[in-house]
């Protein structure tokens, strides 16, 4: 048996973003974003609501095009209509399972080849839902649906997994379980992971680097060098979480909000 070493070259995609900007009508969301993500790295993006963190992720997923700038995946320009072939998979805020397909067929979506059945089995087993393969999605709990969505992403053996606040709607205990699951699968598969979250504690628990998006750019790039698996009770963890949170809050609130807060 070989033990996976984090030093060996990973199967992840390296991401390179240069001068990326996005504008919706008159509103500039992102401008001049510069970002490098190493292959196999786990990056978390935090920021206030509406700061553009989800927009950045959707551009990485090819769902939206940038107004300026470029995105390269492993030195190839991102092709918006072929991101699936470039090994990019996205997990949405809601599970987005097809309600008219049983769990197994949802996981098999877009998959072809002779070994589809075995791969679906394997992916569902990895998220602990092997026995629910024939159930309708409506029969699952919210957490189970997100686990099926995770299996659906993993079955394609992605090289870049994008997570758009996938745990936002789950209860606290389920979230902690999902953190452990996502971390374990990331270590096993070696993909590059980009997680967008509003939960700083979640970001510090999972990521190698925490990025803050503020005023259209990456305003903070905080490495997290805590040993894995990380425990939240740990003093170093709490210190780092506090620091990032303080930095997020440092930005003064928009005027109408600060008046409302008083």
């Amino acid at each position: 048996m070989t033990t996976p070493t984090p030093l060996q070259p990973r199967k992840g995609t390296a991401v390179r973003i240069r001068g990326l900007g996005k504008r919706y009508g008159a509103r500039q969301v992102l401008q001049g974003v510069e970002l490098d993500i190493a292959a196999g790295e786990f990056v978390a993006i935090v920021g206030r609501s509406g700061c553009g963190k989800s927009t950045l992720l959707r551009m990485l997923a090819g769902l939206e095009s940038g107004t300026q700038g470029s995105i390269e995946l492993n030195h190839q320009p991102l092709a918006r209509d072929r991101v699936a072939e470039q090994g990019v998979r996205l997990m949405f805020q809601d599970a987005r399972l097809l309600p008219w397909k049983p769990v197994g067929e949802n996981v098999a979506l877009g998959l072809s080849g002779p070994d589809v059945g075995a791969r679906v089995q394997e992916a569902l087993a990895a998220v602990g839902l092997a026995e629910r393969i024939g159930d309708w999605p409506t029969a699952l709990s919210g957490g189970q649906r997100q686990r099926v969505a995770l299996a659906r992403a993993l079955v394609h053996r992605p090289r870049l997994l994008l997570l758009d606040e996938p745990l936002g709607a789950l209860d606290a205990l389920t979230r902690i379980e999902m953190h452990a699951l996502i971390e374990r699968l990331w270590r096993e598969h070696g993909f590059t992971a980009v997680l967008v979250t509003h939960d700083v504690s979640e970001a510090v628990a999972l990521a190698d680097r925490v990025l803050l998006i503020e005023d259209h750019v990456v305003a903070l790039d905080q490495p997290v060098s805590l040993a894995r698996p990380r425990s939240r009770g740990n003093a170093a963890f709490a210190h780092l979480e506090g620091r990032v949170l303080q930095r997020v809050l440092q930005q003064p609130l928009p005027t109408e909000l600060s008046i409302a807060a008083l």
């Binding site: 997923a61 699936a84 998979r89 097809l98 008219w100 877009g110 309708w136 029969a139 394609h156």
Partner: protein, 270 residues
């Protein structure tokens, strides 16, 4: 038998299930009685028994089955033509913006013409031929299916389409796996509306003129004052309409097993 307290409510429930049939039974008995006593002329309304006898005679001579066969074939061909066209155009205008721009306004205008208002024109165009009947049925069933298909496709969850695209699905695969199943509940509602309209239009078309079919049988019987056969015809339309509805419901239940509303139906005691 011992007097168990739970027995009484059980017997009461049994009686309760008979209550809906009380009124029809009463009406039938009054009807039969008044016909036998001569209060009701057979020309106005023959006794229920005579209707049954007429039904039996028509059935055993084979005449009945021939008429039912002809009418059903007409109804189904009309449905196939009008419904098929409605489905096709609905899919087209639902999925392609330019097709909607080109066709939808026109179709919405034509939709406001009641199909029965077309009868004089239809007779001028097709005479009193078979094609006239098919045309009327086809026009009538076209719109419910067209409108519900269009609406169904437009109301498919955009999030699911986005997800499927980002998982590499496009073209026919996207249609087959995501858009069509998403539109199916709405399409089936359209089908049920169409089935109701189909019989109404067929009745009218067959009473205008026909050489066979339930409408022909009834109009013919009217000529000879055979009120019992007229009633057989009317009851046949009721039965066929009900049958079509039951079939559509079964189709819905089979095709929409995944739908929460159907799952709760399955779980509930009948």
């Amino acid at each position: 038998m011992s007097q168990v307290p739970t027995e009484a409510p059980a017997r009461w429930r049994h009686l309760q299930s008979l209550v809906p049939w009380l009124l029809p039974t009463l009406l039938l008995s009054v009807w039969e009685l008044s016909a036998r006593m001569g209060w009701l002329s057979t020309r106005v309304l023959p006794e229920p028994w005579a209707v049954l006898v007429a039904f039996w005679q028509l059935a055993s001579s084979g005449e009945l089955w021939e008429h039912i066969g002809v009418s059903t074939a007409r109804a189904l061909s009309g449905l196939a033509i009008g419904g098929g066209l409605g489905l096709l155009l609905g899919l087209l205008t639902g999925s392609l913006r330019w097709a909607e721009m080109l066709l939808d306004t026109t179709l919405q205008m034509v939709r406001n013409i009641p199909p029965l208002a077309l009868i004089p024109l239809v007779i001028l165009w097709f005479g009193i031929d078979e094609s006239a009947k098919l045309f009327l049925v086809a026009v009538g069933v076209f719109f419910p299916i067209y409108l519900n298909t269009f609406h169904g496709i437009r109301s498919v969850d955009k999030g699911l389409i986005e997800m499927a695209r980002s998982y590499g699905l496009s073209g026919w695969q996207l249609q087959r796996l995501v858009i069509l199943p998403g539109a199916l509940p709405s399409i089936l509602v359209g089908l049920r509306f169409s089935l109701g309209l189909m019989w109404v239009l067929l009745i009218v078309a067959e009473t205008i003129s026909a050489q066979a079919g339930i409408g022909y049988m009834t109009m013919n019987a009217r000529e000879f004052l055979q009120t019992d056969i007229v009633l057989v015809g009317i009851l046949l339309y009721a039965l066929l309409g009900k049958l079509a509805d039951v079939l559509a419901r079964t189709l819905e239940r089979l095709a929409l097993r995944w739908h929460p509303s159907h799952q709760s139906h399955n779980g509930a005691p009948a």
